[in-house]
Symmetry: C2
Subunit: 595 residues, 2 copies
């Protein structure tokens, strides 16, 4: 296979030599697994991705879903790709055996999702949403709802959505106005509007199950008053099959910059009196339920961003090797053959920058995913706690760092292609457009930075931050065995110390000033923190490369990309910390009327 | 007018208080002009831009020109907008009176182009290309060709293109293969293919005049063998009107990420034996002729990039003031009214960053344009020479800095809009897509950086660089009168000294190592140099703000944006110089096979 999706050698290097996912097979839940079953999963994912996902990516971008008699009809390519996906069990891959699952580690499923996303992120979105939806139902729904909806969500017979956002409220979920009223029949009726609902209507499968955040009539204002409801498109029929239409309707389609193959909708609930809605779990626990899914959802966004940057990088690399153009600056012989553009230093710079972003981010995503596995399945209490804390504090970075820097890899891929990259004849401009969504949804960059500095750094008296610093220290110690890594070790130690000092000074500030001022420069903190974490990921990779059995061009490339990140990127930490340490108020103090 | 194109107060501040374009009216060429005529020009530009350019921007993006029986038909909105543009004399604004022009300073015409570009860059492109084409013909064509084509190009009866790029050669013009052969009738016949030719075919006006770089049969290889030809779509008819079709044909349309209203074409010359082609000026001087236009063309790209970033910033600012969402982090009252999002510190950060980019870049563009005016028209020999040198060394920055940083403003404008910014309901995603062309065409970022370090810094034993440093020093001295600017003065002096030291060390390196190695990190040099220059532009603005008669929110905003640039951005100079000073070879040494 020509795979320009995710480099397989790299994926295996990260899984087995850096994150060491094979160690998970020692845990009871994954006892039937082995490197062989993981590799077979990746083989199948690659095969389906290349044959059923990738071929329609450009077509779906060009031919957005349209209204068709009040409903959305998806192209046959989407149906075909998802048939393969579910047919091979990817819909339930991480689930328990008794749910028809494979008990695959989440880490390996994230690796396979990277492959599918690189091939066609718009198609995978339908399956990802259904999977997240199924997890909420599995964890919080009553036995009856589970019985009815869980299995078909996992095998692709029905689909699911997450219906949180409302037009007037955006990210401010506390301002949600959708209202559910309990009727005499013991069932709620829901009224309201939801926007940006991906997969809100289509003709995949037999039914669509919307998970809707709404306020039960007379519940308190704000996020604490929100409950979670299950609202099916078709109500249960007499025979257990989908029956009559529920009162939820497609009110409009959102036309986007990218991600066009995933239909995004405006949904109207209860225009004809009220949509039948089943309460999930306890009333007023809606946001808590959603937030328990949030870590995985945010890792999902992160890995999607990685995949789009990664495949664009591979396309750019391929183009740079194939495209002859120009000569070295000193060459005066106009009749000499042109060089492949990868020979030009500035093209190499763009490729190496991209490599440092996408491979650093893929390592981060897989490492983050391994924390999900360990948190739930480790047989060591301390490791479970440590993993849970690390996961909490890393989640904002897992979501936002790839969304920012792998998007930059997309832009660089366009630049490497030159004029051709700006045309729709090449896929790199589409990949940029697709990826531009990721810094926005599932909590914008700004929201992630406030989550990091406002919640995660403070949580349990800074325990999560301490655990992170300890984990980085461990890697620093491990790197002691490799003299070739001295430069990186010294630099990461320096940067980590700076981050600790800055964090300390911010915590002191937090005690003295209003929260608003403490959080005013949180984007700088996210930058310093994120780059330190990714430098850590690169040191892990450098150690694995140095200790690898196979010392070759691949491992040399890893060291060089690590060097790029340390020398060319890491000074951003100093820049950010310098501004944070003086509590610079340039942005905070800018008055509206002075713009 | 609601103008979200270019802020008029800012434009006048930059023109009259910073660049002091009114001083040009003391020169003979501009003797009939005054601030009143300049303002009237801007009024007319705003009125046409708002009423005829802006309304069709989204439509032209959605409905790209299509093949229609082998030709391109443009929508009526394009015809109508250009009728207004030419009808008001903008086609010939800077030209001599005897050519029907207004002898308007180039600086003021650049200001008006910013307004048109902000409204609809795709429509302006047709006029800009014709204008550049006319200038080449005016300067280098023989009397007969001038007689035939110049006046109709300036009044919009015919259009022009620049046909340089070929599919196999891209930016490497020395590899151009198009060939012209002199026939017995004393006229050349041209054969070859040209790609990415904007406006290569359409139904505007009576004819299209292509300026084509080609090699006369048996001319030497490389750029030195290139000649410039005029190839009309329709040959001259008996009555002086366009006559029979020439042998140039539309071979394909390029479908782009943005800039979709400007048709981009693949043109085939001579498929039926050879296109009639008139030699412009001397043989083998083609590239030299094109390069004499290059400074203005590159300023044109720069100001187009500014305009797209600027209008997106104004849209984001407007949205941020209108959109209520969320509350301050410390607010616990869920029933309180949501704030306009401009109240959120991170939104202010994005807006202030954008302001520092787009207003800094607009100042740079207008300052650069004023050098074109002074170089050609100053009555002081020394000032003409100084302006010419400054223009040479600043041209790579004039082109590339806005293309990079105003594009970033476009991305930030999407981010400020959140999910809505990602939809095609709002114009900001289109503006991003339009602007993404600018780091690519008219010499990519990489090419600009090599032009700067490989040619401009070295030219005349570093004389251009010296002149630039002197000019910055003058501004530093002028700032002495304003104690409030001490921080900026100190910082710019520091950064300038660093840039000088780094430049000196690079020049020493150049004498020792191969050119290829000397130029390997030229992108870093462009970054350090560009940010120093824009910091200079901001100090100029800060001085004007401090010395302004009107001290108000506008001037306070200028100081705050200047502070943002100095505190949040300028450390990029140190980062770049640190890598340059050790001649870091991370990218240079990365072998192809290690990727």
């Amino acid at each position: 296979m020509s795979s320009k999706l995710i480099d397989r050698r790299d994926l295996e290097f990260l899984l087995y030599e850096v994150v060491k996912v094979q160690d998970l097979t020692g845990l009871p839940r994954f006892g039937d697994h082995s490197r062989e079953t993981f590799d077979a999963t990746l083989d199948t994912a690659e095969s389906i991705a290349e044959n059923y996902f990738a071929p329609s990516a450009a077509t779906l971008d060009e031919h957005e879903p349209q209204f068709d008699a009040g409903e959305v009809k998806l192209r046959p390519e989407v149906h075909a790709a998802l048939r393969q996906y579910y047919g091979s069990g990817f819909g339930a891959a991480t689930q328990d055996y008794e749910l028809g699952g494979m008990q695959l580690p989440f880490t390996v499923s994230v690796a396979s999702k990277a492959i599918f996303s690189a091939a066609n992120v718009s198609v995978l979105a339908y399956a990802s949403l259904s999977g997240a939806n199924a997890n909420v139902i599995k964890n919080f729904a009553c036995a009856e709802l589970k019985e009815q909806y869980l299995a078909p969500l996992l095998d692709g017979r029905i689909s699911g959505t997450m219906a949180l956002t409302e037009p007037q409220a955006g990210s401010s979920l506390g301002d949600i106005r959708s209202t559910a009223t309990l009727h005499a029949d013991g069932v709620y009726r829901l009224v309201g509007q939801k926007i940006f609902i991906s997969g809100g209507d289509h003709d995949l499968g037999e039914n669509i199950v919307h998970l809707v955040l709404a306020r039960i009539k007379d519940a308190p204002a704000g996020v604490k008053g929100l409950s979670l409801f299950l609202v099916p498109k078709f109500l249960p029929g007499a025979d257990g099959q989908p029956g009559p239409r529920n009162d939820v309707h497609l009110a409009g389609l959102i036309h986007k910059m990218g991600y066009r193959g995933t239909t995004s909708t405006l949904l109207s609930f209860g225009e004809q009196g009220g949509a039948v809605a089943y309460l999930l779990g306890e009333p007023q626990r809606g946001l808590a339920y959603m937030f328990q899914m949030m870590n995985e959802a945010r890792i999902g966004v992160g890995v999607g961003a990685v995949a789009l940057g990664y495949t664009a990088y591979l396309h750019a690399l391929d183009y740079a090797r194939e495209r002859p153009q120009g000569r070295h600056p000193a060459c005066k012989d106009a009749t000499s053959a042109p060089l492949a553009i990868i020979e030009h230093a500035d093209v190499r710079r763009m490729l190496l920058a991209s490599k440092s972003y996408v491979e650093g981010a893929l390592c981060l995503s897989l490492f983050g995913a391994s924390l999900v596995d360990l948190k739930a399945n480790s047989d060591d209490d301390a490791e479970r706690e440590r993993s849970a804390l690390l996961l909490e504090i890393l989640t904002p970075v897992l979501k936002s760092w790839p969304s920012k820097y792998c998007l930059e890899a997309n832009s660089l891929a366009i630049q490497v292609h030159g004029g051709y990259g700006y045309t729709r004849e090449y896929p790199v401009e589409r990949m940029y457009r697709d990826n531009r969504l990721n810094p926005i949804h599932e909590g914008t960059e700004g929201i992630q930075s406030m989550d990091l500095l406002g919640r995660k750094v403070l949580m349990r008296e800074g325990r999560a931050f301490t655990v992170l610093c300890e984990a980085i220290d461990q890697t620093l110690q491990a790197s002691d065995a490799y003299p070739a890594l001295a430069e990186f070790r010294g630099r990461l130690a320096e940067v980590l110390a700076l981050l600790k000092r800055t964090t300390q000074s911010l915590l002191e500030l937090a005690a003295k000033v209003p929260t608003e001022l403490y959080l005013a420069n949180s984007s700088l903190y996210l930058e310093a923190f994120g780059h330190t974490v990714v430098a850590w990921m690169w040191l892990k990779q450098a150690i694995a490369a140095e200790s690898s059995q196979r010392r070759d061009n691949f491992t040399r490339g890893k060291i060089q990309a690590c060097q790029y990140f340390y020398r060319w990127e890491l000074s951003k930490v100093e820049r950010a910390c310098a501004l944070l340490s003086v509590n610079d108020d340039t942005c905070y103090a800018m008055a509206d009327e002075c713009f």
